[in-house]
């Protein structure tokens, strides 16, 4: 029964992926991508990666899909010109051939993976006690491989700076993106008033339980960013001007706290990003509390786009 369900799910995912590739209209392809993202969330559940399913649903399907649909509708006027650029049959056949080769080689590699599979689960379990948290993924993210998480927070910030760098000079220091207006009596404004409070509670809950159950700051931050996006689309919220120092400090606060605690670990626990005995869980909590707002702000501002309107 489960095999049949998995088979149907895999097939549906492939069908939707093919749809996003061959659909004539880019807008339709973007919509198909959102559905495909939702199905991928189910795939993660079937692979028993609930934490990943949460992130895929929030970011992969939700935020990425929103971005793609917004871009597709703005780029509608370029469809005709682009269609004229489509490569001819020989190129498409060659592309299909190389793509099939690469996929086949990957399939061979997948089928040849060793059995029993090597795993780090045992090592993780042996060392979880030192971290004080119950969710092994949180342990990996914030203790064993904390450097990757720190770098990841910095990567997202660099992407945001890159988006800001695209602003025209006259709009520098102003507010990102366009000001949206929605019918104040329409469904969008209604949802934007009703959903965000619920969303914020859900986000904080998912963040809070991430220490011992699936969840965590990435999932919480993406839901917060999504709630802000909803309010902004309905015209109920506006992005702050990028020159505001309080905004900038809020953006770097998370990584700075992370680096500070990591540096303190050099003296108190003997290594950068090490935690002294017994203090691991509280310190992890502090880092997460600091990273949640910074991450949510960064993701929201990346979605908002480059500054386009000069500050008042």
């Amino acid at each position: 029964m489960i095999e049949a369900f998995n088979g149907a799910l895999a097939l549906l995912v492939l069908v939707l992926a093919i749809w996003t590739v061959v659909a004539r209209d880019t807008f339709a392809a973007a919509v198909g991508f959102v559905a495909y993202g939702m199905l991928l969330t189910l795939v993660w559940v079937q692979l028993q990666g609930i934490d990943v399913a949460l992130i895929e649903g929030a970011i992969g399907g939700g935020l990425t899909g929103a971005m793609l649909i917004a871009a597709a509708s703005r780029l509608r006027p370029t469809e005709a010109a682009a269609r004229a650029e489509r490569p001819g049959l020989p190129t498409r056949l060659a592309a299909a051939l190389v793509a099939a080769c690469v996929a086949a080689a990957l399939a061979v590699a997948v089928l040849a993976l060793p059995d029993p599979a090597p795993t780090l689960a045992r090592e993780t379990a042996d060392n979880m006690a030192a971290t004080g948290v119950g969710n092994p993924i949180t342990g990996v993210l914030l203790a064993f491989r904390a450097m990757d998480t720190l770098l990841e927070a910095i990567v997202v910030l660099f992407a945001m700076i890159g988006v800001w760098a695209l602003a025209p000079d006259r709009a520098w220091g102003g507010r990102p993106g366009r000001l949206h207006r929605a019918d104040p009596d329409g469904i969008l404004a209604y949802l934007a008033r009703v959903l965000p409070p619920i969303g914020i509670v859900v986000a904080v809950y998912i963040f809070w339980i991430g220490a011992d159950l699936p969840g965590g700051k990435f999932q919480g931050a993406s839901i917060l960013a999504a709630m802000w996006l909803l309010a902004a689309m309905a015209g109920l919220a506006d992005a702050p001007p990028v020159s505001r120092t309080s905004l900038r400090v809020a953006l770097i606060a998370g990584p700075v706290v992370f680096i500070a605690i990591g540096a303190a670990g050099v003296w108190t626990a003997g290594a950068f990003l090490a935690y002294p005995d017994g203090l691991a869980k509280p310190l992890i909590k502090v880092i997460e509390w600091a990273l949640l707002p910074s991450l949510a702000l960064t993701l929201a501002l990346i979605l908002a786009g480059a500054p386009e309107r000069p500050a008042r």
Binding site: V43, L47, G49, E85, A99, A104, L106, V156
Partner: protein
Amino acid sequence: MTDAATLFGLCAAALVGLGVYALIVNPQPLRKILAFNVVGNGVFVLFGAVAHRGAALGWGGDPVPQALLITGLVVAFSASALAIAVLLRLFDETGSATVASDPPEKPDADAGKA
């Protein structure tokens, strides 16, 4: 357990192939960004299948790859966002959206100089 992993692993291989085809063939940059996301998802699903194969001790999967997946998904989102931002700015500047090379400079006229 391994059946689900192998099935989705093969599905991931197909996704990578599909995305690669779309990336080469579709001229619109937005479709290329979509295709890049499909390839990326294929890689992530493969990683998830690898994690599921490493299930042990009552956990559904090997936690190290699952943690890395979360990082990877956030990085992929930032990459798509940056690409879309550049694309939209290009559209605002020129009214067109294409990565085709600019037309080559006019051929020089020095064939006569000897």
